[in-house]
């Protein structure tokens, strides 16, 4: 902790120094022919304290930041005399939203892909993941972002105005889905063909069915699908944690789903027109109920039952939110006929019910998140695959297999947990890089986030905004490293002290 703080301070001195000496802050005024040139120069000199040497300016900045201890931060003024505090609060919100979402998605998808690729080593799926990882590594961020803006925003907006899926498109979607599933599930050729064909037919059928219903403009899940998703999650979690032997865990998950259904009827009015505090309250209630259910059903496996119940409850809540969002897609389209705008992080004066408001900033989040996720996904999946393959070769895994444990237990209990240890460090290290990527992404998508703060500050050779950017990214990086250390201790009992 002490070392982290020291590095934060040293980093701030270094960044301040090189920013101050990266150019001449008065350059544009020196070349201007304005009559009030002198006054402008004087005002800027006063705003930026240019008459002081850089270390005095750094000290002034540092004492302002030190007031943060009493929750009274003073980040000073930028070269135009505007307060940086307000600018930072606005910017940090949108950027951290973006980066956090991208990190979480990249962790979940990347690690899952890596594990599957390692389990099915040298399969078609493995080669596909390898190739995609190389491709994603080599993609220029800004180039992909501009491409997405063209194809996923403008063309999507044109399409959603009168959505219809042609027969060829539906067939292609079906075939791709079938191929993916067949290569994932493996088995001999006959089984692969069977799974592939079934999956392709189901996907093709679903797409054409949705098309007939006009689902693209009026989508919904309905309570039935929500329950189905939650039950599937509960069964999957039970299978991963204890297998088919312990029925109590499964009953706990199913009870949670049943109580969830009751909950949706009780809180129906809150769910259809909530506010953020109400949503949090309902989430807390569902987690509390899940813990209680797990505790009551658990028997000897209370902690596992509780975790499975919580997982099921969270899936149920997520599916319910998704359902509400989908139901409000139509009303949202009525208010905003071209849903994805290529610039900005939300409409300026959007008015509508709660869920359409969520859509308003949600759709703006989709494209930048895809860009950022894809970039970090590549390294996470490669690392997980390598780490997983290495653990699978270890002697204790062979011992576990030879004493007759099922493949499920070997993979989840013996291999996965150990393979995840190095991944936590990578995720923490990657966070700073991800914020760097966010700078570029925000520029392309025209977000007024931290990237813009940094970029404009640097262009004006103004250390204030640059240091504000650093303050947030540096602190976030240090926090991420601490989180990684905690996760480390959680995964690897040997380093608990």
């Amino acid at each position: 902790m002490g070392v982290s703080a020291l590095i934060l301070v040293l980093g701030s001195v270094f960044l301040f120094f090189i920013t101050v000496f990266s150019g001449d802050p008065l350059e544009d005024l020196r070349e201007s022919r304005d009559r009030n040139r002198e006054q402008l120069m004087e005002a800027r000199t006063r705003n930026m304290n240019l008459n002081e040497p850089w270390y005095v300016r750094y000290w002034m900045w540092a004492t302002g930041v030190a007031k943060c201890v009493t929750l009274n931060c003073d980040l000073g003024m930028d070269s135009r005399g505007a307060s940086i505090n307000t600018a930072l609060v606005n910017a940090a919100g949108s950027t951290l939203r973006l980066v956090t979402l991208a990190t979480v998605l990249a962790i979940i998808i990347g690690i899952t892909m890596g594990i599957l690729a390692a389990i099915r080593q040298y399969s078609g799926f493995d080669y596909m993941v390898t190739f995609l990882a190389f491709l994603f590594f080599s993609l220029p961020v800004f180039w992909v972002a501009v491409l997405l803006k063209e194809y996923a925003a403008i063309r999507f907006n044109n399409w959603i105005a009168d959505p219809s899926v042609s027969l060829t498109a539906a067939i292609i979607v079906g075939l791709l889905f079938g191929l993916l599933l067949a290569s994932l599930l493996g088995g001999d050729l006959r089984r692969k063909l069977l799974t592939g064909a079934t999956a392709a037919l189901v996907a093709f059928g679903a797409v054409t069915y949705f098309d007939q219903l006009g689902w693209w403009r009026q989508p919904a899940l309905g309570l039935g699908l929500v329950v189905l998703i939650a039950v599937a999650a509960g069964v999957l979690l039970t299978y991963i944690t204890v297998g088919r032997t312990n029925r109590k865990i499964l009953y706990a998950a199913l009870t949670t789903v049943a109580l969830g259904v009751v909950g949706t009827f009780i809180f129906n009015s809150w769910i259809t027109a909530p506010t953020y505090p109400l949503l949090l309250l309902m989430l807390a209630i569902s987690i509390a109920v899940a813990i209680a259910v797990g505790w009551l059903w658990g028997g000897w496996d209370k902690s596992i039952a509780i975790w499975v119940s919580i997982g099921t409850a969270l899936t149920f809540a997520g599916a319910t939110v998704m359902d509400q969002l989908l139901r409000n897609w139509g009303p949202f389209l009525d208010r905003k006929p071209r849903p994805i705008s290529t610039i900005g992080s939300g409409s300026v004066n959007f008015e509508g019910p709660f869920w359409t408001g969520v859509w308003d900033w949600g759709v703006q989040l989709i494209l930048p998140t895809i860009v950022l996720t894809v970039i970090s996904l590549a390294s996470y999946s490669r690392y997980t695959r390598a780490s997983m393959l290495e653990t699978i070769r270890q002697d204790y895994v062979r011992t576990a297999r030879s004493k007759g444990l099922s493949e499920r237990v070997v993979i989840t209990k013996h291999a996965l947990r150990n393979a995840l240890i190095p991944i936590t460090t990578i995720v923490a290290f990657d966070f700073a890089g991800l914020i760097g990527g966010a700078v570029v992404t925000e520029t392309v998508f025209g977000w007024k986030g931290m990237g813009a703060l940094f970029q404009e500050g640097l262009q004006r050779v103004d250390p204030g905004p640059v240091m504000a950017f650093y303050l947030v990214t540096g602190t976030a990086a240090v926090l991420m490293n601490m989180l990684a250390d905690i996760a480390y201790a959680f995964l690897d009992p040997r380093i608990r002290t």
Binding site: I7, G11, S22, Q121, S138, R393, F429, A432
Partner: protein, 349 residues
């Protein structure tokens, strides 16, 4: 965030150890069945050890030349480099392409590209023309030249700086090591792109100052890697023997230790080049890299990103070339790693 060698390298630093890990014959494992399948991607199946024995260098070379992905990448890279250098010439030497990248001319047919693949023909303006009628092929080739120059300069400088500092820190320990580790920690709190942007602004837009500035920020990863290797090598017997007969420390580092880390260094240098191509183009795109009188692939994309709907070719060509270079250099690095470290390759020897 301490000097802990167990920690893997930072993603994006180019040393992610992407090569697949060899599969061991494990009778109990379900993957056993897959082993029987002939592996088309094997890199050294045909080595017959009964006939001729090979030196270490020959083995590495053979493994590398049999890595199909690496060979295709190498061919592509050589092709792009030759194309960029010979088409518009280098400095005062003229190239074979009749047009230059600075003369504006009359825009024909909306500046549409005339390159066709079937039947293959160049036409008058293979990549089309930009808004002022400049020949876009010449412009893209110029950008490729500049981007490649920066990437290779940074690759070479970074390798020299990183190797030297890593070797000194690993061999002498002491304050060099402490400083190295603290500087590496710095990159955890300051994103590389941010640091490069600030220094790039300072460099004023020329490609040589920019290349030097980028080298100054991208050596840390390699230095850590070399330090780790040197730390283990300096405890080996041959180093002790050399010390016992009074060899000077510099001679030990240069003659005994560094040759043993060559594999790591070469692989890392390759992957640095791929990372630098992307970093430079991102910086130029943001406006902190190469500045307008000069040009680079990133700058071309940045300049013409708004003409995407009208003239998409202005956007596609430089982007595809960046992607192609980065992808082939990454594959090349992977092939080199397989060649230097056969433990990581797919073949079962």
């Amino acid at each position: 965030m301490s000097d802990d060698n167990d920690k893997p390298d930072i993603p994006g630093s180019g040393r992610e150890h992407l090569a697949p890990i060899p599969e061991q014959v494990d009778p109990g494992s379900p993957q056993h069945v897959d082993l029987q399948r002939p592996d088309v991607l094997s890199v050294e199946k045909e080595i017959d050890l009964t006939q001729k024995s090979y030196s270490q260098g020959e083995l590495i070379r053979r493994r590398f030349f049999r890595h199909r992905g690496a060979m295709i990448s190498l061919a592509f890279l050589v092709f792009i480099t030759l194309m960029a250098v010979t088409s518009i010439g280098w400095g005062p030497i003229p190239g074979w392409w009749p047009k230059n990248y600075w003369d504006a001319s009359f825009v024909q047919d909306g500046g549409r590209p005339t390159l066709t693949f079937f039947p293959p023909s160049w036409g008058e303006q293979p990549f089309g023309q930009e808004d002022a009628g400049k020949d876009y092929f010449a412009l893209v080739m110029r950008g490729t030249q500049r981007s490649l120059t920066i990437a290779f300069t940074v690759g070479i400088l970074t390798t020299i700086i990183g190797t030297l500092i890593g070797a000194i820190a690993g061999y002498f320990r002491g304050w060099t090591e402490a400083i190295l580790m603290r500087v590496t920690d710095l990159f955890i709190v300051i994103p590389l792109l941010v640091l490069a942007a600030v220094l790039g602004q300072r460099s004023g837009g020329g490609i040589w100052p920019l290349a030097i500035m980028l080298s100054l920020v991208s050596w840390t990863g390699l230095a850590r890697l070399v330090r780790g290797e040197v730390l283990s090598l300096r405890e080996r017997e041959f180093v002790t023997a050399a010390e016992a007969i009074g060899t000077s420390p510099w001679r030990i580092i240069l003659k005994h230790i560094l040759p043993n880390t060559m594999g790591t260094i070469i692989v890392s240098a390759t992957l640095t080049i791929a990372a630098v191509i992307l970093l430079e183009s991102a910086l130029s795109f943001l406006g902190f890299g190469v500045q307008p009188p000069d040009t680079s692939l990133g700058l071309l994309i940045s300049t013409y990103q708004n003409s995407f709907t009208v003239r998409p070719w202005l956007f596609w060509w430089p982007g595809l070339i960046i992607l192609g270079i980065a992808l082939s250099v990454n594959f090349l690095g992977d092939g080199l790693r397989d060649a230097f470290d056969p433990r990581q390759s797919r073949s079962s020897d």
